[in-house]
């Protein structure tokens, strides 16, 4: 930690440079509103630069500027005013209410700038500071709770992926992630995780590619939610678009430097970790060799007599009650390498539980940006370094971003602009996920011995450098049976990855005349990545090394002709005619050693114990060319209507069906131009209808064979699991949307409400079929999913006084999805079959994402029925719907309190509903790890005692003949009614609701007086926090947001990671 602070300081000092300007003078003045009240917090900027200040609480400002400068005064909801400096040293300003928000220009599809008031669809802007003030390694996580209808779910591991879905899942099996467009360049948001990782069989979460975006470079974001908003992007934007505009230098003069430095520390939130029982140790029950049945017998100390030992192979804690007077030969007594060899130790709970493995993590983000320009050109050059130390041992991530943007006007009519970004990200020791020995949480939540002290495991590993596990086969066979020493796992079996990424564009803009202009743009997003995974010799399972090399590239060529003309007084016609050619390339190769490693610790394919099997290769190029047109009409600046049409041709569809057309129409009316009421500042009604066609991924048309490793020199080919289809047609989404936005009472209250309905038809779906057909799935155009919902955002300004300002922003959204139909004869489509006997499904007449599994059996009154033995009856099949992954609603409340130079921001993020199946409690409740597996029963006896001794539990329910259950059953061994052996899956489905204090920050901005004495133009310091407090949740021992990976498989936890509280501080300086 210390080294990090000092490096920041060095960095700061390096940039403390004085920059002086000629012909400067200080201008002061007061800014008031129309009623003469002083306005605090008005932005005062020297036009064309980033130099500026804000008015204080009396509306006063003071700024240094040249005589030739122009000052720009702006405040939300008021008209922006400009005043040339000239010889004035005092400029008092009156800002008027901005009745129609005429100046609010937003960036819409394809980078087209539009008056927000003319839009007939919902968009929601997010300022760049919203994602950079409380920084995270993945800026998407900062959007949670800030945009109505945008759901972000981080999967919880270091650098892990975040699921980002707008207005619900519309594609049954396809991609449902929002599209990111940065400065007009669509970028990849691929999640390079394996199918196994996504469905919980193990592997690492490598994060999603859009997380590469550096939050410090973001100026603003605009979220396009519906199909009408995104129609011009075509097929790929069917899931909504997040348009990101990055910071640019200003034309004008002078060079500005800004420096941001943040250091965050993170600690695991105990509320999201298991609580271990401290009363009983290793075992599954009472059936081992010792007299009492709880211990194994080996001659450990070599005296020829059998000794009581821990049942080493048993990864559960249904063993003997702890007794400090009882000496047992435990794992540390059987390894000759240890000082404790052949020594018995008291039978007590491990002093350090697995919860003590968590370290304090840290993230340091330092960025420097240089910007400026001349009257013809502008530039900005930014560098950001992010370093993360994870919370598990040996976990690190770093990312360096260099971004250049610049523009130049060759003539008044011809300008050129470019954005170039280079990003290098590295990961080491990402956390293993799912049901896999590389995920320590698999053991810590499901399979563990509570007598083990995790620090003793740590010391044993560091002393010997060997896999000294608590879980060996036997004293005579010390190889691990299931679980490795968790420190061995972290330090020996770690992965590494690197991604080099280049994103950029070049655009040329030519204004032909007052009406026409033309834009040409080339943009690219390319990256190379390598992922290397290791398992050292000596680990449980087969040792090995595997590497995955992937190269992905997307190139876009755009030409857009724009026109804008007042055809007649009060009648404006504008529009675009454009074409886009998109080429996507993907080449990857995954190779692994075969049969283990020969030499330990040497990770190369050449170290394979057996001859290598052929690596798997993927090589795909797809192209889509699109032509589109948009025409908009505006009448009296009050009535707006626009229509779009797009034609796409895609290489992923069969020849005869590869071209498809789709239209949209949208309209808006500025009601305030018709209604005149003092209390109403602005109101707009909007409506739209849109269709969007969609293609699919490559290689779903022609059937191919899978070639695998030869057998005895003979070639091996298999038919694929899925049957391709030469008759595929494009998908089609149809949607409509209605919306109303308004501002009242001097803009103290504002709202924006939308209702939408989208039906996605003809989905290109791998429909499961009877395997007796010879295939598992068939690609068909089948299935319709409907998503409909309401989004509300509310802006309140309850207090606006001279020294105190309170702003509140509330977002709320409710999406109802329903699978309207699947293919004929198919009444369920399994999205994933998961360990534990549950599955995630799309089933007709159900919301998308039904969780199926075994339920209890109920009587008519809804009571659970128990069998004669007193255990719950379970449904005969695993087909019962026992939950759904979709939340009922999501929302966020953010508050900003501003008192003089201090401002306090906090965000409360809420999700109501949605379900999670926990494999962790499914197994963990059957292994006796948790605190709830001990304690007294209804008789006051230990619940773990045998029923014969007064122990056990009576399950709440009724017998088959309807009488209340009175039969007590054993709960002191793995066959407890609460774990997988006897419980129904339903018993492990938890409500995913939460209320979280997601973000909080306290910022002090240095006042003008202090700034004048410092070499800065602006300076602020903040204390920030993320995920500070889970105010409410219903799932025990876990974070309701934890999951495996971004994607369609949600609502499932297996070896889940805890939530991490992050607290830190940041400094922002402008020179």
């Amino acid at each position: 930690m210390k080294t990090k602070f000092s490096s920041i300081l060095t960095l700061l000092l390096a940039f403390v440079v004085q920059i002086t300007f000629a012909q400067e003078q200080t201008i002061t003045g007061t800014v008031t509103d129309e009623d003469g009240l002083p306005l605090p917090g008005v932005n005062v900027l020297v036009k064309g630069t980033s130099a500026g200040t804000q008015t204080d609480f009396d509306g006063n400002y003071s700024i240094t500027a040249d005589q030739s400068d122009v000052l720009v005064f702006s405040f939300v909801g008021l008209t922006t005013a400009e005043y040339p400096v000239g010889n004035n040293t005092t400029i008092d300003v009156v800002l008027e209410a901005d009745a129609a928000q005429l100046d609010e220009v937003v960036v819409t599809a394809l980078g087209i700038e539009r008056d927000k008031k003319s839009l007939g669809y919902a968009t929601q802007e997010v300022d760049g500071s919203e994602v950079s003030d409380v920084p995270t390694t993945n800026f998407m996580n900062s959007l949670s709770g800030k945009v109505a209808g945008l759901k972000v779910k981080s999967s919880g591991t270091m650098g892990g992926s975040s699921d980002i879905v707008i207005r619900g899942n519309s594609s049954i099996t396809g991609n449902n992630q929002a599209l990111f467009v940065i400065d007009g360049t669509p970028i990849s948001n691929a999640t390079p995780n394996t199918a196994g990782q996504r469905s919980g069989t193990g592997g690492y979460d490598y994060g999603n590619a859009a997380a590469d975006i550096n939050p410090d470079d973001i100026a603003s974001m605009n979220v396009l939610k519906g199909a009408a908003a995104t129609a011009l992007y075509g097929a790929r934007a069917a899931n909504g678009v997040i348009i990101i505009e990055t910071k640019k230098g200003q034309k004008g003069k002078g060079i500005g430097i800004s420096i941001n430095s943040t250091l965050m520390t993170s600690r695991a939130d105990k509320e999201t970790l298991p609580k271990y029982q401290q009363e009983y140790g290793a075992g599954y029950g009472q059936y081992y060799a010792s007299e009492d049945g709880y211990f194994s017998l080996y001659d450990v100390d070599g005296d020829g007599n059998l000794d009581e030992t821990t049942p080493f192979t048993e990864d559960a804690s249904f063993g003997a009650a702890f007794d400090p007077n009882r000496m047992i030969y435990q794992w540390n007594s059987i390894y000759p390498q240890l000082d404790t060899y052949q020594q018995a130790t008291p039978w007590v709970a491990g002093e350090h539980t697995p919860n003590d493995i968590w370290e304090t993590g840290s993230t340091a983000i330092n960025s420097v940006a240089l910007d400026g320009g001349t009257d013809k050109s502008n530039f900005r050059l930014g560098f950001t370094n992010m370093m993360t130390d994870g919370n598990l041992p040996n976990a690190r991530m770093k990312r360096n971003t260099i971004k250049f943007s610049g523009g130049h006007d060759f003539t008044d009519d011809l300008s050129i602009g470019t954005n170039l970004t280079y990003i290098k990200s590295d990961g080491r020791g990402r956390y293993g996920t799912g049901y896999d020995s590389e995920n320590p949480m698999q053991s810590f939540r499901q399979w563990y011995q509570t007598n083990v002290d995790i620090y003793e495991q740590r010391d044993a590993y560091f002393q010997t450098g060997e896999n000294i596990t608590w879980n060996p086969n036997s004293p005579t066979n010390l190889t691990p049976i299931y679980m490795d020493n968790p420190y061995w796992t972290r330090y020996e079996n770690f992965q590494t990855d690197t991604r080099n990424r280049y994103i950029g564009n070049i655009n040329i803009n030519y204004e032909i005349n007052d009406i026409f202009s033309v834009l040409g743009r080339f943009s690219f997003d390319t990256y190379d990545e390598i992922q290397e995974e290791r398992r050292n010799v000596g680990s449980s399972g087969v040792s090995g090394y595997s590497r995955y090399n992937n190269r992905a590239a997307e190139y876009n060529y755009d030409a857009i002709l724009n026109f804008n003309h007042d055809i007649a007084t009060d009648l404006n016609l504008d529009g675009n005619l454009g074409m886009n050619l998109r080429r996507n390339q993907n080449h990857s190769i995954r190779a692994s050693t075969n049969g283990g490693l020969n030499a330990p610790g040497f990770y190369a394919l050449s170290n394979s114990a057996d001859p290598l099997n052929p690596p798997s290769e993927y090589d795909a190029t797809s192209m889509v060319d699109g032509l589109y047109a948009r025409v908009g009409l505006g009448y009296l600046d009050t009535y707006f209507v626009e229509g779009t049409i797009r034609r796409d041709r895609s290489s992923t569809l069969p020849k005869g069906e590869n071209t498809f057309y789709y239209p949209s129409i949208s309209t808006s009316v500025i009601l305030t131009n018709a209604i005149n009421a003092d209390w109403l500042n602005f109101a707009k009604l909007r409506a739209n209808y849109a269709e969007v066609g969609n293609d699919t991924s490559p290689y779903r048309v022609f059937n191919t064979y899978a070639i695998s490793a030869p057998f005895a020199g003979q070639g091996i080919a298999n038919n694929n699991f899925s049957l391709n289809n030469v008759e595929l047609k494009p998908e089609l989404a149809k949607s409509y949307e209605l919306g109303l936005e308004a501002n009242f009472l001097d803009r103290r209250i504002g709202f924006d409400v939308s209702y939408y309905n989208t039906q996605t038809e003809n989905q290109i779906t791998p429909v499961p079929v009877s395997n007796a057909t010879g295939f598992g799935r068939v690609w068909l155009n089948a299935g319709t999913v409907e998503n409909k919902g309401v989004e509300v955002s509310l802006n309140l300004n309850p207090i606006r006084s001279e020294d105190f300002n309170w702003n509140m922003n509330i977002n709320w959204a409710r999406n109802r999805s329903e699978v309207l139909e699947l293919a004929p004869g198919i009444d369920n489509l399994e999205l994933a079959g998961l360990q534990g006997g549950v599955s995630i499904n799309a089933a007709p007449d159900e919301p998308y994402g039904a969780i199926r599994g075994r339920d209890y059996v109920y009587d008519d009154a809804g009571n659970r029925i128990v069998n004669d033995a007193g255990f719950y009856l379970r449904s005969a099949t695993s087909n019962e719907i026992i939950g759904n992954i979709q939340p009922d609603w999501t929302g966020g409340v953010s508050n900003t309190f501003q008192y003089k130079n201090l401002s306090l921001d906090f965000l409360i993020d809420v999700q109501e509903g949605g379900d999670i199946f926990s494999l962790d409690t499914w197994y963990g409740f059957a292994t006796g790890l948790y605190d709830r597996s001990v304690g007294p029963n209804d008789l006051g006896n230990p619940v773990r005692d045998a029923v014969a001794d007064g122990g056990g539990v009576i399950l709440e329910g009724v017998t088959e003949d309807g009488q209340p259950n009175t039969t007590r059953v054993d709960a002191g061994y793995y066959g407890t009614p609460f774990g997988y052996a006897r419980d129904a899956n339903k018993g492990h489905v938890y409500d995913a609701s939460f209320v979280k204090l997601r973000e909080a920050s306290l910022t002090y901005a240095f006042g003008e007086e202090m700034i004048e004495r410092l070499p800065f133009t602006r300076a602020s310091i903040s204390v920030v926090g993320r995920n500070l407090w889970i105010i409410h949740k219903n799932i025990p021992y876990s974070d309701p947001e934890a999951g495996l990976s971004a994607g369609n498989i949600q609502g499932y936890q297996s070896g889940a990671y805890p939530a991490f509280r992050e607290i830190g501080a940041s400094v922002k300086l402008n020179f």
Partner: protein, 465 residues
């Protein structure tokens, strides 16, 4: 202005001037072929079939448990006959239909369309394919009862295949074996890609006929047994249909994967087989079992067993190259003994076949030099003409062909198997249908379930009486 518009459109068109054909070509996968030789599919199907028969994996094939040769140490669902927890019927069904039968059907079509082969070569190859197809169908019928047969394997042309009556399928399989015998004699079939007999067509014919004996004896169809024997069946262990596994993954015996490569300790030998063989003082124990403890002690079937405390499976079975068995000479002779006992007209008598069977098994496991006479003369082993004795000896011999071992027990109701310790569930008489058949092929599933008398583990197969 018009000029500009025209230029723009012209440019745009130029930009996207690639033809639909060029677009479609991008969609042809350069890394996975659309065409392969029939040989690739034939080899693949052969290995897939042998793998599925040999695998002890709790997700794929639990017949080593069901027949009570092995039992589990800690995780007891499967030896207690919980078939659904791990979707075992679904995996078994899917491997046989997709990875074996569909590949074979595809290989057959490719052979038929192959102009490079002469008629005799085509026939011989089709014969080889047919034998394996019959084998896979027979395993499916013996596992489930009625199954989709005539309407199966049609891809999306029939995604709702109806189920056929099991007995009718058996009859069809018998006639297919008869014509396979003829085809196999026509010429040279697959040779290098034949990983079972390396192109020895005479052995393929014996295999076809021996398989016919299996099916016919199972259904007490003596005339078919007689015909098959008349055409020529296995004459020694040298004729066995086996799979020579390789030393490195993924081509090892699947036993090695779960017993050795996994590093786990999930299996011990079940007390059922150990107790019976201990009583008989059976010499094959030295191969079947490990001597990790003295004396041989099997784990309690279906109960929790400490790995250290019970007998492990023999070291031979933990060798990656351990031979997989599709059908052996011992099995043939047990079928023939049964047929002779029940009145089939054969050259040898029931006792002769019985002794030949046991001798073959002893020779297979202990070497050609073994003298089985001592064992054969033991009082419990010496032929007594009882179905119980025949069943017990047959079952012991099928230790490494557990799919057949399960059928032997069902056919002869011998030996007496244990009830699993944990649940006490009776031994399954069939697999229940895959869960996804209930969802994906519901009407046909319902019809089949009612036709066989209920989709239940305890519904007997048509030949199990």
């Amino acid at each position: 202005m018009k000029k500009l518009l025209v230029t723009f459109i012209a440019l745009s068109t130029l930009w996207s001037c690639q033809t639909d054909e060029q677009y479609e070509d991008l969609n042809r996968d350069p890394k996975n072929p659309t065409e392969v030789a029939a040989d690739f599919l034939f080899t693949s199907a052969s290995v897939n079939l042998a793998d599925q028969l040999a695998s002890p994996n709790v997700n794929l094939n639990i017949t080593r448990f069901i027949a009570q040769y092995l039992t589990a140490t800690t995780y007891l669902d499967e030896p207690n006959y919980d078939l659904n927890n791990r979707n075992i019927p679904q995996n078994h069904w899917s491997i046989l239909y997709r990875n074996v039968l569909f590949n074979l059907q595809d290989a057959k079509e490719r052979v038929q369309a192959n102009e490079m082969l002469d008629e005799a070569q085509r026939s011989a190859r089709i014969g080889q394919i047919e034998v394996l197809e019959v084998y896979a169908w027979q395993v499916l019928v013996d596992s489930f009862g009625d199954i989709p047969y005539t309407e199966a394997l049609n891809g999306k042309d029939n995604s709702l295949p109806a189920y056929d009556d099991a007995a009718t399928i058996y009859n069809d399989l018998l006639s297919r074996l008869e014509s396979a015998h003829t085809n196999l004699g026509a010429g040279q079939g697959f040779a290098g890609s034949d990983v079972i007999y390396n192109g020895d067509m005479a052995k393929w014919q014996k295999f076809a006929n021996s398989l016919q004996v299996r099916l016919a004896a199972r259904t007490d169809n003596w005339s078919e047994v007689e015909e098959a024997v008349g055409r020529g069946v296995f004459e020694s262990n040298a004729d066995n249909a086996t799979m020579d596994y390789q030393s490195s993954p993924p081509n090892t015996n699947p036993l090695w994967v779960d017993l050795v490569q996994s590093g786990r300790s999930d299996y011990v030998v079940a007390n059922t087989v150990v107790d019976i063989m201990n009583d008989l003082d059976d010499p094959r124990r030295m191969v079947y079992f490990d001597d990790n403890i003295e004396p041989y002690t099997g784990g309690t079937y279906g109960g929790s067993n400490s790995f250290q405390s019970y007998t492990h499976i023999g070291p031979d079975f933990r060798d990656p190259t351990h031979t997989g068995i599709l059908m052996d000479y011992a099995e043939l002779n047990f079928h023939l003994s049964y047929a002779a006992m029940e009145g089939a007209g054969l050259d040898n008598d029931a006792e002769g076949y019985y002794e030949e069977a046991i001798t073959a098994s002893m020779e297979y496991w202990l070497g050609e030099d073994v003298d089985a006479s001592g064992y054969l003369s033991q009082s419990e082993v010496a032929y007594d003409g009882s179905m119980e004795q025949l069943g017990t000896q047959f079952w012991i011999a099928m230790f490494d062909n557990p799919v057949e071992g399960w059928s032997v027990w069902r056919k002869f109701d011998a030996p007496e198997l244990n009830l699993p310790e944990e649940s006490g569930n009776p031994v399954p008489l069939r697999y229940t249908y895959p869960v996804n058949e209930q969802n994906l092929n519901e009407d046909n599933y319902d019809a089949a379930a009612s036709a066989i008398g209920g989709d239940d583990q305890q519904t007997p197969l048509f030949w199990d009486n």
